[in-house]
Symmetry: C2
Subunit: 164 residues, 2 copies
């Protein structure tokens, strides 16, 4: 559905109390088809599930990966800066970092310049681990390519470049 909210007729009108239709494949979505949000949501669910599965052997989820990647690329960032950049709540980042710090992948270093804040760094094992995570993440991206096509994936990234 674009601008026109045309009322498409139901494909089948069942009387009240009639046998419900149970075959999901036969169910029309009608107005839902054409909604960008619906397609994007379903695609995002597929992508995250594949990511979680592909990085399952190292027990790293998408958000954890994004945190490690940003810290790895920008050592010394404060927690606020990471939270802002990734669009996650600073309250939630606390728990994410607690977990990553327990696993010895990340360390909080007290800042001398502003003693309220922490400078975030990868540990040496964290650097090594992230390198492995990146290989697995690249494998995941190849799954995405296999799913929607190499050219379509590239177009998608181009269309959504502003959202990174």
């Amino acid at each position: 559905m674009t601008a026109s909210a045309t009322q498409t007729a139901p494909r089948k009108r069942a009387g009240n109390g009639a046998a419900p239709r149970e075959v999901a494949d036969d169910v029309g979505l009608d107005a839902l088809v054409g909604h960008a949000g619906y397609a994007v949501r379903r695609f995002q669910i597929w992508i995250f599930q594949d990511f979680i599965k592909t990085l399952g052997e190292v027990d790293i989820r998408p958000t954890q990966y994004s945190v490690l990647t940003v810290i790895g690329a920008n050592p010394g960032l404060s927690q606020m800066a990471v939270a802002k950049r990734l669009g996650i709540e600073r309250a939630r980042l606390v728990h994410l970092l607690d977990s990553l710090e327990q696993r010895k992948l990340v360390k909080r270093v007290k800042s001398k310049a502003d003693r309220r804040s922490h400078a975030l760094h990868l540990t040496a094992p964290g650097e090594t681990a992230l390198a492995k995570f990146k290989l697995l993440a690249a494998e995941h991206e190849r799954h995405v390519e296999a799913k929607i096509g190499k050219e379509n994936r590239a177009q998608l990234l181009r269309i959504l470049a502003d959202f990174t």
Copy 2:
């Protein structure tokens, strides 16, 4: 990042204990750029927020809208069929339908053919309300077009057609 997991050098190497960098705009994502999942997730968040805001006056969220739309287009569906089609847990659909039924938008009708299941229908006010929701949803889609461009939105829908 595509197939190559190249280790891009950190843009700035801060010593331990140095002042953390606080300007989010200045933070590089490096390897995160090029991840389809990351861009899709951020875009999906934007879309849902706009949807929730645009349909805020009628207090309808994306999942509620999808349930109403599927029932409206396929009257008589069972709860299992709706849950399967939309990819939501049947346990969760129970609560969604409780809420929609309390608002008199949907009714559960006991099936005579299979007395375990319910045939789902919109009420008369539900039909009227859904028509209004569709107009607001169309407005939301125009916001998406304004955000990424009409042509890009069309391409996106084409690329993700299999996920609807």
